[in-house]
Amino acid sequence: MTRAMFGRGIGSAAEPIPNTDMSAELASLSMPSPVLTASGCAASGRELDQFFDITKIGAIVTKSVMLRARSGRPTPRMCETPSGMLNSIGLQGPGIDEFIEVDLAWLEARGARTVVSIAGESVDEYGKLAQKLRTAGGVDAIEVNISCPNVADRNQVFACDPEMAANVIQTVRRQSDSQTPIFAKLSPDVTDIAEIARSVVRAGVDGLTVINTALGMVIDVETMRPALAGVTGGLSGPAIRPIALRCVWQIRQALPDIPILGVGGIRTGLDALQFILAGANAVSVGTMTFNDPSAPMRVHNELALALSERGFSSVSEAISYGHRGADIFEADGAGEIEPE
């Protein structure tokens, strides 16, 4: 990582190298592409497999699964916003047992790499989820969705508190196969995302997924009430891309070596390239898959071209290249706070 960051410039910058090495690593997970799906934006891969070969992208990140079956929130669950959308699904899903039996089994049979996203309402629940996955086949990595309220503690969101977040990660780490890389998925709705990142890294996480949705709201001007049944919802899509990119950049400044999966508003290969230049080792395409069901594959292809046009012979050469010359080890990125 550090080498890639400072090492070579872009060799023969003018000459497009046709065969860019698109392989990517996220901790110990090796993939043929740095482009993954995003949790909650691909179900368990089966539907998207109709539009492109899901084994060709990096991995399927599955919808966050909880311990028990869950009905989610009432509708309306979504609302379009300028260059984005709000959602409030409420983690509807079959529960971990059925997930392992049906979805995970299908993914494994299909030969797709799978990052299983888990979500709990208590530290204990996260631990139980990890235990269940320990004996299941086909788990290439675990993404821990910590943007959930902790029912035991005034419903404070795990991802918004460094200690609570660390507790979840410690527990998941302890209950998981030591070979399985564990990612913590961070929320942008915090004062200092680097602080949360450092805390979960200390707790033993193998990588970070950056970012989950930002909390937002729309009021329906006809009913004159919140447009979502859940009142507030998660804002996603290109609208939040600059926020997501800033989070990736800040975390890369704070933690030069941690694997980062960049997420937020990626629509094109050039968007993905921005994340990689900012320090992401791989990226997830979320909301824009709703807009274009082949988006993850298309982004992969566009990224391959963009890298080759810029003279990169591999993805890894481009990782963090946007930081070159900057004093990447300076603490906190405090130097970049905008005073407007």
Binding site: Q50, R70, T75, M78, E80, G90, N155, D292, P293
Partner: protein
């Protein structure tokens, strides 16, 4: 299996309060069955509108100079449908389809009644044709708030055994709602199957009438959809399964056609207390 294609607009014509778009969409007509829908990308790459819009497939033409083409009937509701209504010949559109589960057709020639509210008549035309081919009697009821909101009255007449029109303001046909005339029609014709497409309120009422007459009902629902292909979970409604358990099911892939007696109409927009995984853990 649905495909994603770049379609070309062949024609946009006004029909009452609606716009009918004819679009080339190779691969979709070939797989079409009545009740299928398509989604359309809106506004191009720089648009602030990022979600696709869903439309019932109205007609398909599988052969012809353009290869497969399809028609959709668009009512202007908001930003996306306005944009679509402003398309012209030769514009290209990003089309995904065919989507959803189609109407189930009876094996034998039983009497059927088709109920369409507003643009809800759009998917009923080819359904009527196929039912007629199977020897079914096809009664049709079209209703709308006003005459302008009726779609396809003249054309559907040709494929229906009898056509009844209702408008709430009486500007065309019987003044009132489709449900005011439906019981009579069902009674008279001994209807065995009711097919319905229109607003949720209408579907609920139609399903209730069908149940009353012990007819089998198939309702095409319309829930807000972010993806249309089953990956987002925004389009759910409570439906009773074969096992008697209510689940929040995705209307885009498990619907949009549901058996009227299995949808818990009154509880749409809620999570019924006995639904699988309920109650929605309310965080407050």
């Amino acid at each position: 299996m649905p495909v994603q294609v770049r379609g070309e607009v062949l024609d946009v014509r006004r029909a009452g309060g609606y716009y009918v778009l004819s679009i080339t969409a190779p691969g979709i007509p070939e797989q079409y069955r009545p009740g299928h829908f398509v989604t359309v990308g809106i506004g191009g790459e720089e648009s602030g509108l990022i979600l696709r819009r869903a439309f019932a497939i109205h007609q398909v033409q599988s052969r012809g100079v353009y290869g497969g083409t399809l028609d959709v009937v668009v009512g202007v509701q908001g930003k996306g449908t306005r944009w679509l209504s402003e398309r012209g010949r030769h514009d290209t559109l990003d089309i995904v389809g065919p989507l959803g589960k189609p109407f189930i057709l009876p094996k034998e020639g039983v009497p059927c009644v088709l109920v369409g509210g507003g643009y809800g008549s759009a998917p009923l035309f080819m359904l009527a044709e196929q039912l007629r081919e199977r020897g079914c009697r096809v009664d049709v009821v079209l209703g709308a708030s006003t005459e302008e909101k009726l779609y396809g009255v003249l054309d559907i007449k040709r494929v229906s055994s009898m056509l009844t029109i209702t408008t709430e303001d009486g500007s065309s046909g019987t003044k009132g709602r489709v449900t005011d005339v439906l019981p009579d029609i069902m009674e008279r014709n001994n209807s065995a199957v009711v097919y319905a497409c229109g607003p949720m309120g209408m579907l609920a009422a139609v399903a209730a009438i069908a149940a009353e007459y012990r007819a089998y009902s198939q309702c095409s629902v319309e829930e807000s959809m972010a993806c249309g292909i089953g990956i987002c979970m925004t389009c759910v409604l409570p439906v009773i399964g074969d096992d008697g358990i209510t689940r929040m099911v995705r209307s885009c892939v498990e619907g949009p056609i549901f058996r009227g007696d299995l949808v818990r109409w009154d509880e749409i927009g809620t999570i019924p207390a006995d639904a699988l995984g309920a109650p929605a853990l309310d965080m407050s």
